[in-house]
Symmetry: D2
């Protein structure tokens, strides 16, 4: 692509699962975008998302979409294990790339592929969507403006309503790479790089998760380069829904990013005639971060149209993975680990 | 249109202003829809929305779009004064119709046009978007399920951040038709028909508003057919933003629909180092009801694809107008008015 | 009493019911106070409160306590029907007087007794405790400081958990004198005098309440002297507890006084494992206004020790009654009533 | 004292500083109590609290009050360094004892004194007032009732508005004994005993605090005996006020104990006419836990009158100290420490 893309930018959407639909809807809402192709081995899924995105072509092999000369940019939402190869192919083909996290579960492979992306000079964005959630965007602005003063403490909680299937967990890279990485990336985004981690954890939700060498309930103590102290708690099961709370505390005050009720409706004594006030809660990440998913795609397209480097890019893809891997090692080895 | 539309349904979007963009984005996110034409006297605006909706044709005259044989359904977001004539033309042309409120500022004209729509048997939906806001949808469900018991009291507040331009106000039909009608329609939606109203009001925000015979700050006492007591307060100016709060109270409890902070971020002592907790507030109606605008268009399309009558339809367009006009008369005459 | 009382001030507590205990606890927490006598026809009750207040004497007849030469000030929490006579006796005996509202259910009698109090020049305070609740105190300060600008709209809700016994209601003076008067007094306190009222209401909770000529569910439209518009809604039954919400809106912003959960504890999915967040709610007025009851007694004692006139005094006792009586007449006569 | 005390129970209040006033007000509100003496080396302070409590005697030496034959029970709110000696003297004199935390900064000394208390069989309660805060009381009940299921994660934050004077800090025993011990005690109260801790911390608020070998900003990772994971974060300085938040998460849900605004008043756009909603925040611990301080004294008196052992007693005094000391050691030695 040239510095500033001529419009519309022609996209291929690689992967037509749940996130393919989400990103397809994001793309089709942007007048600067034309989706020309959707790729998925399941033809019906590819066709469905093609209808949503008004794409005229479908492919069963994502590589064919990457090599379609009409295609200028790709959105990769295929299974995790295919990310690295598709990024590599797209970069070598000179296409702009948005890829869901992670690039790979392996640091060396991630480093190798990110290096290719950088060598090819193609625009690249990794899917840490929380960085585009309005609350984190505003928190970052306020921190940068000095409103929190020197950051002294950080605390994040991330809990899913229920664990994914065991088959998925087996190839997920473990709880830190698969789930906690979002909280760890936000820690880096808001506070800065982490020097050292100490992780504890075990399988409280399902013993089968222990048997595959993973944990479902973890707590990490973080020491940031700038001296701030941090904690991150994760769980694979919260009966009340999807729970993400983040707090940044410093010499100038505190910021708390925590979901309000999903629906702005308070029930007083509803139904049972009991005293008490009840509201609902977010159910799932796509629910809580719906607008953030739209905003990250809009930001990627905005960067392409304006010739800016998209963010978060190769550096953050690598460093947040490095941090998650340090947590994994700390938990395995039962000791503090330098992130370096 | 036949009972169940063959897909995609081919739409024309009449009006390419701010709401035209909004509804265009709603349409393009629906795979069941193909926008074939956008009409607006301002060509650049029409082209911009055509790009957004992937429409291939633009018209300067909305009647040409209505009569385009490809077009099966129309979204009318033109200036209020043109609504009645366009609805009439579209109905006579057999097109499905979604129209922003109001049909007309005049009861007789509204009755005449709604009768034509009914005679022609075309699907019709009026743009009372709050009925598709998640909090009101859930409130309606809970009320219907009996959770609130017998409804005894209703209270609604509706405040805009600032009055619209005087030129707009002169042709707006007055505060009850232009602004309060949304609160009055929700009163009917949640509680039932209103028997009698008593309105007070004057111009506290801008004396020029009094000079054109309108008010900017009003309070209405409602007596519902079912005996419930209601109050509705409106203002054209709230320095803190857009303020919509609705409460339904009954023998079984209370429901409160009030916006949570727009951004789920709490600041403790931010900036000034002061004690205290601050959050933001919604700024404007498009902000607060963004999802409701999407949902009402999706519901209209859903009704078309499934062969159901869309809602709210001709009856609600007429009855909510009748209620707003009773308020206007009550304020003018300084006495209680039967809605009949 | 002289201008500035010599310490401790010697009190008699007239009435040893529930509110007698409350006010007794307030008195005993003040080092400037010595409770010398408690009067109640039920001897066990008098003795119990004497123990609480460390009082050495008990009387069965409150007049004996009033005429006890040791007694300098009296707290009247006897049944409503006795207030006027006891105030009169205490005033004539030169004692400082704190009396629970109302002085009497009758305007002429209230005027007569208040005149005696003024003629005798004894300190007098009426028990509108909300004026000493921290939220209303702060609201008043902010309004006085101009933070709300010109007040344009007022809205108050007052709901009890359940109606009192019918025997009580028969002698209560009706819902406006007995219950709504607190909301009406706060309207006067925060906004100013009321020019005209229109009240609607009926018995939705218990038909027996209609049979005694009273209502249990009412809505009042208020027009203030300064042009502000107001609404007050009351109910004798709220299944979720005690519900007091007050809103003042003006050209500079809005203040909302509404109870937070009684207990600062949020339950997420508790018990049933369901999604959702639950908190508790205040149960009753003594619960919600516990600190205000303490504060009003402390303020009365503070006024005595510093030689200031206590507030709210005879004027507010009279004017808030006048307003409540105007509401009663409006409901009876089905028309607007000038408060004069 | 015999099993069930004859009433009133005669108390001496040892220490007439700020907490002496608080506990004096608590005592005087209880009809079962007679305060007979107040002891403080500052005579004016002793007399002031004697007036508040209606005590007839004052002592300059607390030992004289302990040995006053009229005195049956003592409240010890003298400087920390005197606690152990006074507890010992009171126990040997057979008096019931309520003592502010801590018994001593030293484990051996605490063990020795607690042994004496147990040997003498006198009632003893330690001042962990949070256990009597309504939110923690209810949390404990709900946890015991199984509403949270198996507890899996715990998180507590405790922040003071500003550090105490350096002179105080020098003899305070350090941040874990002086401040964090309240959060650590609540961890034990709600979750159970702690097996191992890892603490990090340094002086971010004031370098002088580092020079006296203490920290002002700390984070502790806790491993509970039952396998739950915990974190506790403390700071000596929060510009927005006094900040205590506690979260218990388990297989059945989550409980969050966090202060609502101190005053139930929301300001919308107040003063500056800006968009946004503001509430206030608790300033200090006596503010936030005012009712808990009253309730712990009432509970102590209730235990005495009913012949029950007060709680928390010698065991909790010792075990919460042991936990705080383990944190201190962990921070000093830079490694995990078993609490044992």
């Amino acid at each position: 692509m040239t510095q500033t893309a001529s419009l519309p930018i022609r996209f291929a959407l690689l992967g037509a699962g749940r996130m393919g639909v989400e990103h397809g809807l994001a793309l089709v809402s942007l007048p600067e975008v034309q989706v020309v192709a959707v790729a998925d081995p399941i033809e019906a899924a590819a066709r469905k998302v093609a209808r949503i995105t008004r794409a005229s072509k479908t492919y069963s092999d994502p590589l064919d979409a990457i090599h379609d000369p009409e295609v200028q940019a790709v959105i990769i939402v295929t299974p995790t294990s295919t990310h690295a190869a598709l990024i590599e192919a797209a970069a070598l083909a000179g296409k702009a790339i948005f890829c869901e996290k992670p690039v790979a579960a392996d640091l060396a492979e991630t480093e190798r592929v990110m290096r290719i992306v950088e060598e090819q000079g193609v625009p690249f964005q990794i899917g840490f969507q929380r960085r585009y959630d309005a609350s984190f965007v505003e928190a970052k602005e306020r921190i940068t403006a000095g409103e929190v003063g020197e950051i002294e403490q950080f605390a994040a909680t991330g809990r899913d309503p229920a664990p994914p299937p065991l088959e998925y967990l087996k190839v997920s890279g473990g709880i830190f790479l698969d789930q906690a990485i979002h909280d760890l990336d936000i820690a880096r985004f808001l506070v800065g790089e982490v020097k050292e981690v100490l992780a504890v954890g075990d399988a409280k939700v399902d013993p089968a998760i222990a048997q595959i060498g993973d944990a479902d309930t973890t707590t990490v103590l973080l020491t940031f380069e700038n001296g701030a102290q941090g904690v991150v708690q994760n769980s694979r099961r919260a009966v009340y829904g999807y729970d993400v709370r983040t707090e940044v505390f410093g010499s100038g005050g505190k910021l708390v990013m925590d979901a309000t009720p999903k629906t702005p409706l308070l029930r007083y004594g509803g139904g049972q005639g009991r005293e008490g006030v009840t509201s609902d809660h977010y159910h799932f990440f796509m629910d809580r971060f719906k607008d953030a998913y739209r905003a990250e795609i809009a930001a990627f397209v905005g960067a392409l149209t304006e010739g800016r480097a998209p963010t978060p890019g190769t550096h953050d893809a690598l460093e947040s993975l490095r941090l998650a891997l340090a947590c994994t090692r700390s938990l395995k080895e039962g000791r503090s680990v330098r992130v370096q």
